[in-house]
């Protein structure tokens, strides 16, 4: 099929884009277009107006930000995937990119667009929640910061308001945390059947903090708090791994589709929790 008609506006600056968003309440931002145009071709969405931000210069940056990283709205997936700064400061994201899309799609697709699209099986929201990233939203009314945990609200639904643009993603520095990402999908680079992203902090052999975040098994990426509670307070031994895996499986309410039924997804979540926790524990400094 072909996309429905739309008005096309090209923004030359972020301010231009914000102005256009304010003046066109029926507009959507067009970044890489790797999800949006596919959905438009299938007529799953019919935006009346698109604001193309691809011509805005200087918003594809990946910069140091204190001990963390600041990523501009137009940073392409392949730039993020291959960034030495991100590998050093947010290796969880680098590891996740091993499972994200195919090379050609990553040439054009952007991290910011991917987050705003908020596909329930997307990998990057899980990484944002696991690392405690902050998303900067800007409109003509001003700028606000939203924590990743508060950003993802539902299937294709975020806390971004219609007149706001995601202008920057801020990833905190790693400090001593261990990390691991694992995914099960039908084909390498495809939509995930189940995803777990885990970060852990271990001090004197005792797990002090944990985030176990699932994607692909609910409306949006979310922490599995019962699994986190099962890990905190002692060493990461077999008993804690078993408890966390069981708690993770019990904390999700997955759907069934042609790729996998709910029971399979639940088993996958248990297995991925076990794998990521074990690997994250080994990576704690």
């Amino acid at each position: 099929m072909k996309p429905a008609r739309f008005r096309y506006l090209r923004a030359a600056s972020v301010n231009d884009a914000l102005q256009a968003l304010a003046e066109n309440p029926d507009a959507q931002i067009l970044a890489g277009g790797q999800s949006l145009i596919a959905m438009m071709n299938l007529r799953l969405v019919k935006p009346a107006c698109l604001i193309d931000i691809n011509r805005i210069s200087n918003i594809g940056y990946i910069d140091e930000d204190g001990d963390g990283v600041a990523i501009g709205a137009l940073a392409r997936h392949n730039d993020v995937k291959h960034s030495p700064l991100i590998r050093e400061r947010c290796p969880l994201l680098t590891e996740a990119y091993e499972s994200i899309a195919h090379h050609t799609v990553r040439n054009r697709g952007t991290l910011g667009g991917n987050l705003c699209h908020a596909d329930p099986s997307s990998e990057t929201p899980a990484v944002m929640v696991a690392t405690g990233a902050t998303l900067m939203l800007q409109s003509l009314r001003g700028q606000r910061e939203v924590g990743a945990e508060d950003f993802f609200l539902g299937t294709y639904e975020t806390a971004r308001r219609q007149d706001e643009m995601l202008t920057e993603i801020r990833l905190p520095g790693r400090r001593t945390d261990g990390w691991a990402f694992a995914e099960i999908s039908n084909r390498h680079g495809d939509f995930a059947i189940a995803v777990i992203a885990t970060t852990l902090r271990i001090e004197d052999g005792r797990c002090e903090a944990a985030r176990v975040v699932a994607s692909g098994v609910g409306e949006h990426a979310a922490r599995l708090e019962p699994a986190e509670e099962a890990l905190i307070g002692g060493p990461i031994d077999d008993a804690r791994l078993d408890a966390a895996a069981a708690a993770a499986a019990g904390a999700v309410d997955p759907h069934s589709d042609s790729h996998a039924d709910a029971a399979y997804r639940r088993d996958a979540i248990a297995a991925l929790t076990r794998r990521t926790v074990r690997r994250a524990a080994a990576r704690c400094d």
Binding site: P3, R5, Y8, I37, R108, G189
Partner: protein, 160 residues
């Protein structure tokens, strides 16, 4: 109907055309420019048949509006080589039977060219990873992988 005038260079030749904003780059190439070597399979970014080069890197032309390519340099399969003077990747696909029906071939070739530019001596795993976004329903991929390996060899021997 609202139209935008765009200037695009395709295979070294400059074109100026007025297009509807919803015109996909794939349809622009095939229907407006009559360059039908670029194939459209799934039209939602899954099959990779419509892969072209845009400013030196591969892009899904079905996931790009022609207006987004304004000012860009596009290379399609027609620009790769000719029957008389085949690109080494074309030569290799011919000799090693890297195609049967030929539908996925333009996308496979553009993807292979991008891979070999970055990695002149790819392993089988590198090749399989690179073409993982391109679907072929005939070959089982075996002969495609062999073709790309052979193309790499031809290009290394042919190189400066």
């Amino acid at each position: 109907m609202e139209r935008e005038t765009i200037s695009v260079t395709v295979n070294g030749r400059a074109y100026e055309r007025a297009v509807e904003p919803r015109r996909l780059l794939s349809d622009f190439l095939r229907e407006d420019l009559r360059l039908t070597g670029t194939h459209v399979g799934c039209e939602h970014g899954v099959c990779g048949s419509c892969t072209v080069m845009m400013d030196g890197v591969t892009a899904r032309s079905c996931l790009t509006f022609a207006v987004m390519a304004d000012g860009a340099e596009i290379e399609t399969i027609e620009g790769l080589g000719s029957v008389e003077a085949m690109h080494p990747v074309q030569q290799a696909f011919w000799e090693k039977h890297g195609l049967q029906c030929g539908f996925c071939t333009p996308g496979m070739l553009m993807t292979a060219v991008e891979l070999l530019k970055a990695n002149p001596d790819p392993s089988v795993d590198d090749i399989r990873d690179a073409i993982s976004g391109n679907l072929c329903r005939c070959t089982g991929y075996q002969t495609i992988v062999e073709s790309i390996q052979y193309a790499a060899k031809l290009m290394r021997e042919d190189g400066p």
